[in-house]
């Protein structure tokens, strides 16, 4: 049961990485890496259950948080040019 899910998740990770390499725009690559990160979370969780140590869920939960914040940080970097930007451009301030 877990072995089947593990193989499927590995296959999906390879497919998303193909899109990450191939994607013509930047946003394709960010999308694919985000999907690969989500599959990594699932992979850690399923592998933990497979080896009889469900304590790996802590690692999976942490990486789920990091993946989300990392994706948003990369998008912010590519929009504003640096990560220290508050998120409001000069023209939008009253």
């Amino acid at each position: 049961m877990y072995a089947v899910a593990t193989w499927f998740i590995l296959l999906v990770m390879v497919l998303t990485l193909v899109r990450a390499v191939q994607g013509p725009t930047l946003y394709d690559r960010i999308l694919a890496v985000n999907a690969c990160g989500t599959m990594t979370v699932l992979f850690i969780a399923v592998l933990g259950f497979l080896s009889g140590r469900p304590e790996f869920l802590d690692v999976a939960l942490t990486y789920a948080l990091i993946n989300f914040i990392g994706t948003v940080a990369v998008m912010k970097y590519f929009k504003y040019g640096n990560l220290g930007h508050g998120g409001q451009t000069e023209e939008e301030r009253p």
């Binding site: 089947v4 725009t25 946003y27 989500t38 399923v46 259950f49 994706t71 998008m75 590519f78 023209e91």
Partner: protein, 125 residues
């Protein structure tokens, strides 16, 4: 093997296999769709449906209550933030100038609106 164990195992198999199938479908969609904005749907399926079903399948196999609670927390977090991040990426791409396929409906109207809004905010007040 009691009936309850059989039932839980059956449900776990169902959700794990279904979740794997949806993840594979999303990945194939991510690879084969013709345009960026159609690929966003594939990534949304992976994040929302595939992830959710696999985690639900794991919840039925949790040996203790603490592990089930952790899995439920992960499930809630991932089904909220997964599609949100993908949607934010799609909006960033729309404002960033990724072209829509010309034969998707309302495509030119949306792109024109986004461009008009972007040029309004860029002009000095």
């Amino acid at each position: 093997m009691t009936i309850l164990h059989l039932l839980l195992d059956g449900l776990s198999w169902l959700f794990l296999l279904g979740g794997s199938f949806f993840c594979l479908t999303g990945a194939v969609g991510l690879l084969r769709m013709p345009d960026f904005f159609t690929r966003v749907h594939g990534a949304g399926v992976i994040d929302g449906l595939g992830c959710g079903m696999i985690l639900l399948g794991l919840i039925f196999q949790a040996p203790t209550l603490l592990i089930a609670i952790k899995l439920i927390l992960m499930f809630l977090f991932l089904i909220v933030t997964g599609p949100t991040a993908v949607h934010a990426l799609a909006q960033a791409a729309l404002h960033g100038g990724v072209k829509l396929l010309p034969d998707t409906s309302r495509a030119d109207h949306l792109q024109h609106e986004a461009r008009a809004e972007a040029s309004e905010t860029e002009s000095p007040a």
